[in-house]
């Protein structure tokens, strides 16, 4: 049996989502752009999905552009904002963004843009004064996450947006981790662009959307036919879009249920802190997503924990270097300035509405043993700190 506690990476497709999609892979395979009735039926389904998704985030259907993924949405929004202000050469983002924003910004730096990467404190929170100090008349766009994928920390987007607006810049929010987990209302919001991705809330991979506020100028990233009202070329991923719409409908129905997900998460966290010494919750004290917890197990290393969990059939993810191709620990945890003893041994558990109490209990049954086993191997421990050098502060690469 697999216990899946890695829902911030991706989620299981809801059966009802799959059922809604299937006819659009078999029977109704028409091209929504075709003039005939066969294509027309399909275009209608795409429109329904657009309405369902708009409902979930409190937007207008015309404000939704379907995309292939979060990366596309983020790239499209930031590039569009820059094209809107050809004379402004400054971008503001944060040190804890997803790679698709950070790497895009690095590319843009090479093309002559100036980028400010806002720092976060030890609880993963932004300093709005730092943001205000960074904003200038030259700032074209501010791009921040809604909620962090690793820690679940939620940024105060409306407060950020208010500052951004006072400088006349555009505000983009990467809400890939937030949509479907917390209520989002874009109608009276300060957000100009908002990115979401279907596979984070029980739709399939390969479909997402970008919200573009009505009246905000948009320059397409993918230039092609007249699809998406000329804002995103390419034949629509119809089945995926239908699935996304259905998933949005279900997410809205299930939003209330996120409270019980949160209760389960809180139980997990409290039990781990109680039963395993030298353990900390990263981002504790900040508002966080109801489904995410990131726990640092001091003196041991994340990949080793993951492999032992995997042998017990439990899937989680590590904030540590070893799971990715990078040798450095998670840029998010480093930006928070956590000590190295915590940094390398941090594990993210992310739940979904499918996570059961029994699964969490199973994790709680094996985790203390796994941590004890690895600590027995480790030369570092709370009693023998002689060799631990915490002197070097984490360096955040620009």
């Amino acid at each position: 049996m697999t216990i899946y506690l890695d829902n911030n990476a991706t989620t299981q497709v809801d059966e009802r989502v799959l059922a809604a999609m299937l006819p659009y892979l078999t029977e109704f395979y028409g091209n929504p752009s075709s003039m005939h009735r066969f294509g027309g039926q399909v275009a209608k389904a795409v429109q329904t999905a657009r309405e369902q998704l708009a409902d979930l985030i409190g937007a207008l259907p015309s404000e939704i552009i379907f995309t292939s993924c979060g990366t596309e949405g983020n790239n499209a929004a930031i590039r569009s904002a820059l094209a809107t202000f050809p004379d402004r050469k400054h971008i503001i983002t944060t040190q804890v963004e997803h790679a698709c924003v950070l790497n895009l910004c690095k590319t843009l730096e090479k093309q002559g843009y100036r980028v400010t990467y806002l720092s976060v404190d030890s609880r993963g929170m932004l300093d709005l004064m730092e943001l205000e100090a960074a904003l200038t008349g030259d700032t074209a766009v501010v791009s921040t996450m809604y909620a962090n994928n690793e820690t679940g920390v939620i940024f105060p987007v409306e407060q950020i947006g208010a500052l951004v607006k006072s400088y006349g810049a555009l505000f983009h929010v990467d809400a890939v981790q937030a949509v479907g987990k917390i209520p989002i209302h874009l109608q009276n919001s300060t957000i100009d662009f908002l990115t979401l991705s279907g596979h984070k809330f029980h739709a399939p991979k390969g479909v997402g959307a970008l919200f573009v506020r009505r009246g905000v100028r948009f320059r397409p990233l993918l230039i092609g036919g007249h699809q998406e009202r000329n804002r995103r070329g390419g034949t629509e991923n119809v089945a995926g879009i239908v699935g996304l719409g259905q998933a949005a409908l279900l997410a809205q129905q299930h939003l209330a249920q996120m409270q019980s997900v949160q209760a389960l998460r809180d139980h997990l966290e409290a039990s781990v802190l109680r039963t395993i010494p030298d353990t900390v919750v990263n981002g504790q004290g900040s508002p966080r997503l109801p489904n995410t917890t990131n726990i640092g197990f001091k003196y041991i290393e994340g990949e080793a924990i993951l492999l032992l969990l995997d042998r017990e059939g439990i899937c989680a993810s590590s904030g540590s270097a070893c799971t990715s191709d990078s040798l450095e620990p998670s840029h998010v945890l480093r930006a928070m300035g956590l000590p190295y003893s915590v940094l390398h041994g941090s594990i993210r558990f992310s739940l979904s509405r499918y996570t059961t109490e029994a699964e969490v209990e199973q994790l709680l049954a094996v985790l203390p043993g796994i941590v004890a086993q690895l600590r027995a191997l480790s030369p570092f421990n709370a009693a023998d700190q002689g060799w631990i050098e915490e002197r070097t502060q984490a360096v955040v690469p620009k």
Binding site: E301, A304, Y340, L377, P379
Partner: protein, 275 residues
């Protein structure tokens, strides 16, 4: 998830020789330790050796490791390998020997085997009272401050493993994998470490060809085959045929078997791609 060999997993799940060796004050034995790495780097190993003074032999070895799966497996493997060896025999162990004992390590994890070799060297030098140049202490001579790697250490690992790219250096000693500000210095060091003109291009291609020939019977036994298509610097382009071309594990064959073998037999920096 990394692709670990059976041996790596076995030694990770059931590590041998974990723990410490206490000095019991027995006059005929000495206990020595070697420590490398740090909690900042994410890898650290403390190796304990019990040495029979008269015979200069390692009679027991134990380890304490902070690190990932392959760090733990490498440390455990090392303790198995050195038991019963004389100190001189143990000093001859290279990081490649450790990796081979484990049935190979993913390239990005080779630094775990390097750490083992270095801890062994330190423990023996400590016992012999030879002072190792403590570059770690002297920030000035560090090339990579993120991972505390000195130029001397870089040169040694580059030469021993015939590394040619900064990516490889990162995999073997982590240097360059942090802020990246040392990468240009690493490139300079790589350039200065040009290896003795070992092979002409023609010799290299011939050697690749004969190595591939020697592998073909194994592939043919499984209904597959391989053919050399071209060699561009260190990229070896091959055509996979029959079952090898179509089967799902052809990438494993390519990387695990063919590339591994070519690296051993011809040049450590080769990469194999199917066309």
């Amino acid at each position: 998830m990394w692709n670990y060999s059976e041996k790596v997993l076995e030694l990770f799940y059931h590590p041998r020789n974990q723990g410490v060796i206490e000095d019991q004050g027995e006059p005929e034995y000495a206990v020595s330790r070697g420590e490398v790495g740090s909690i900042a780097c994410g890898d650290a190993l403390r190796l304990h050796l019990k040495i029979e003074i008269a015979s200069d032999k390692i009679v027991d070895a134990k380890f304490q490791t902070f690190g990932c799966t392959s760090a733990i497996a490498s440390s455990s493997a090392l303790t198995e390998m050195v038991k019963g060896l004389t100190l001189d025999e143990a000093l001859a162990i290279t990081n490649r020997d450790i990796a081979n004992y484990l049935g190979g390590l993913p390239e990005q994890k080779m630094h775990c085997s390097v750490m083992g070799q270095e801890a062994l060297e330190k423990a023996i030098y400590n016992y012999r009272g030879i002072a190792l140049p403590e570059h770690e202490e002297d920030e000035g001579s560090l090339v990579c401050t993120c991972f505390g790697v000195s130029g001397e250490r870089l040169r040694k690992v580059i030469k021993e493993n015939r590394l040619t790219t900064a990516e490889q250096v990162m995999s073997y000693v982590k240097a360059g994998g942090g802020c990246g500000s040392c990468l240009s210095v690493i490139d300079d060091i790589l350039a200065s470490c040009h290896f003795p003109a070992g092979m002409t291009n023609l010799q290299k291609i011939n050697k690749i060809q004969t190595t591939l020939e020697s592998l073909r019977p194994y592939l043919q036994a499984d209904g597959g085959d391989v053919e050399l298509f071209d060699v561009e610097n260190d990229r070896v382009l091959v055509i996979l045929k029959g079952a090898c071309g179509s089967c799902a594990s052809s990438l494993d064959t390519l990387k695990g078997l063919i590339e591994e073998r070519l690296r051993q037999e011809v040049l450590a920096s080769l990469t194999v791609e199917a066309v």
